[in-house]
Subunit: 283 residues, 2 copies
C-alpha cells in the first residue's frame, strides 16, 4: 500500500471514531484511491479447469478501480451480491483464466437486498465474503472480520464513487443518478439498518432512484475494498486491525461465551437494536 493510502487509512479511522461516538474501533476502512500496480502477471491465462484446481483457487492481484467500476455496473445487472462477486471473479477470469471463467456467478443473485429483498445481510458483504473464502483458504476469517468491521463504520458511497458519477468519466448506462450522493455510516452489516441510516441521513426515500444508485456505488466500494485487502494479503502486507468495539465487548462480557448469562453470540454492533445494554431486549 502506498504512503498516500496509509495516510488516508489513518484519516478514515479518525472519521470512524467521530461517526460512531464512543466506539473504540480498530477496523480500518480504506479503498485504495489509486489502482494497484500489478506486479504479478500470470504465466498463462488458465490455471486449469475446476476439476484439477484445488481449493483455495489461485489469486492474482487485481486493479482496485477496475473492480470498483465493474461492481457498480454489476449492481444494475444482478444487484449487490452478484455485483461484488461477479466483479472480482470475472476480473480473476481475465487474469487467471479457468476455472474462474466457468464459475456460474449468477447464482449470487439471491443475495439481493439482504437475500431476496428480506433486508438481512447486505448482499455486497455477502458476495465479498464468498469471494474472499474462495481464494483465501484458511485466512478467510481474518479477512472477513476486517470486511465486516469496515462496512459497519465506513461512510457510503465513497468520495471516489461519487466523483466517478459526477465526472461521468465512468459511465454505467443504467445509472439512476449522477448526483453527488450524501454519505452515511451503515452502523451494521444488515441491509435494513444500512438503508435506513442512509435514508435518515440523506432524506431520500428507500425506493428512490438515488437510494438505488447509492447501493450501486456501495457495491463498487465493497468490491474495491475487498480486492485491495486481498492484494495486500497475497503481498503479505495485510495486518488485521479489526477488533470488536468496547461497547460490543461490554455486551459480550455477559451475553457471549463465558459470560454469566451466555444467551447469544455475535460480533455485530448491538446498538441499532439495543441502545441501552442494561435494558432488556425488546423481544
Amino acid at each position: 500500500m502506498s504512503k498516500e493510502n496509509q495516510t488516508k487509512t489513518g484519516m478514515s479511522r479518525r472519521k470512524f471514531l467521530v461517526s460512531v461516538g464512543s466506539l473504540a474501533l480498530g477496523a480500518v476502512g480504506v479503498s485504495a484511491l489509486a489502482g494497484c500496480t500489478q506486479t504479478e502477471k500470470p504465466s498463462a491465462k488458465t490455471a486449469g479447469d475446476a476439476a484439477t484446481v484445488t481449493y483455495p483457487w489461485p489469486y492474482k492481484k487485481l486493479d482496485v478501480e477496475t473492480v470498483r467500476k465493474k461492481g457498480h455496473q454489476g449492481y444494475y445487472e444482478g444487484a449487490c451480491c452478484y455485483g461484488v462477486f461477479n466483479a472480482i471473479i470475472s476480473e480473476l477470469g481475465k487474469e487467471v483464466g479457468a476455472p474462474y471463467t466457468t464459475f456460474p456467478t449468477q447464482m449470487f443473485k439471491y443475495g439481493e437486498g439482504g437475500v431476496a429483498g428480506w433486508s438481512t445481510l447486505c448482499g455486497a458483504v455477502n458476495g465479498a465474503a464468498a469471494a474472499i473464502c474462495l481464494v483465501a483458504g484458511d485466512a478467510w476469517e481474518d479477512l472477513v472480520n476486517e470486511l465486516m468491521a469496515w462496512y459497519e463504520n465506513n461512510p457510503f458511497p465513497s468520495d471516489i464513487s461519487n466523483q466517478y458519477a459526477r465526472e461521468k468519466a465512468f459511465l454505467v448506462k443504467e445509472m439512476k443518478s449522477d448526483k453527488t450522493l450524501p454519505q452515511s455510516v451503515a452502523k451494521s452489516t444488515l441491509c435494513h439498518v444500512s438503508v435506513t441510516e442512509w435514508c435518515k441521513k440523506s432524506g431520500y426515500k428507500s425506493f428512490s432512484k438515488e437510494r438505488s444508485e447509492r447501493c450501486g456505488r456501495l457495491t463498487g466500494d465493497v468490491a474495491a475494498f475487498t480486492v485491495d485487502m486481498l492484494n495486500r494479503h497475497f503481498d503479505k502486507a495485510f495486518t488485521p486491525v479489526a477488533k470488536i468495539s468496547n461497547e460490543v465487548q461490554s455486551c459480550r462480557s455477559c451475553h457471549d461465551k463465558g459470560g454469566t448469562i451466555e444467551n447469544t453470540r455475535g460480533k455485530m454492533n448491538c446498538m441499532p437494536c439495543h441502545d441501552d445494554p442494561h435494558k432488556k431486549p425488546k423481544s
Copy 2:
C-alpha cells in the same frame, strides 16, 4: 407430497400460528418425513464440465433424508452454511456428476455463525439460498422467499432430527449430544435472534455443546426442507404459499415502498427488534 405429509403440513401451520401469536402466516414449513422417491434418474453421471454447462445448473431429485443427515454431518466439517450447501451439491454430484463434482463447496465456510461468527444471516439459510439460486434460475426468488418465511416460523430442531440422534440410527461421529433437544421458533432468519430464542426456550447456554448440536440438526433440517422444495419445484408440484405476515405488512405500509415514510425495506419479522410498531425504533 403424500397425504400423510400434507396432514403434517397442516399441523405445522397451526403450530406456527400458536408460536408467533397474531402473525397470520402463509409460510408452510414441511420437511418431508419420508425420503422422496427418485422418479428421475440421470442418464449419465455427468452433465458436462463447468465450461459447457450453462446456468442454471441441471437438477435431479434428491433423497430428502439423505440430505438431512449429510447436512448434519457437514455442520461438524465446516459449520452451518457449508453444511447445507455441501450436502445438496455433493448429492447432486452423485446424481448428476460434473460440474457439481468440481464445485469448491469449501468457499461457503464463510457463512458460519451468521458470517464469521458475526451472527447476521443464519448460515444454513445462506447456503440453502445459494444452492437454490444455482439450480432454479429465474424461479429462485419464490423459492428463497418460501425458505426464509419457513425458517422464521419453524420449530428447530425438527422431531425427525431429534429422533435420529436419540435412536442413534444415524451417527455423526462428532455429535456433541444425543439428547432430544428442546425446540424453538427462530422468529428471524438472523443467527443472533435464532440462537437467543433457542437459549431462552431451552435454558442451554449459547456456547454449550447442546446449542452447537441444535445448530447441527437445524443445518440438516434446512438442507432437507430445501431439497424437498426443489424436488417439488422440478416436479411442477410447488406452489409458493409464503406471504408477508399482517404485522409486518402493517409496518411496511408506512415504512416500505410507497408508504408515507418509506425509509426502509425488508420482509423480515420486525418484532424481535421493534416490538411496538408505533414506538420509535431504538436506534
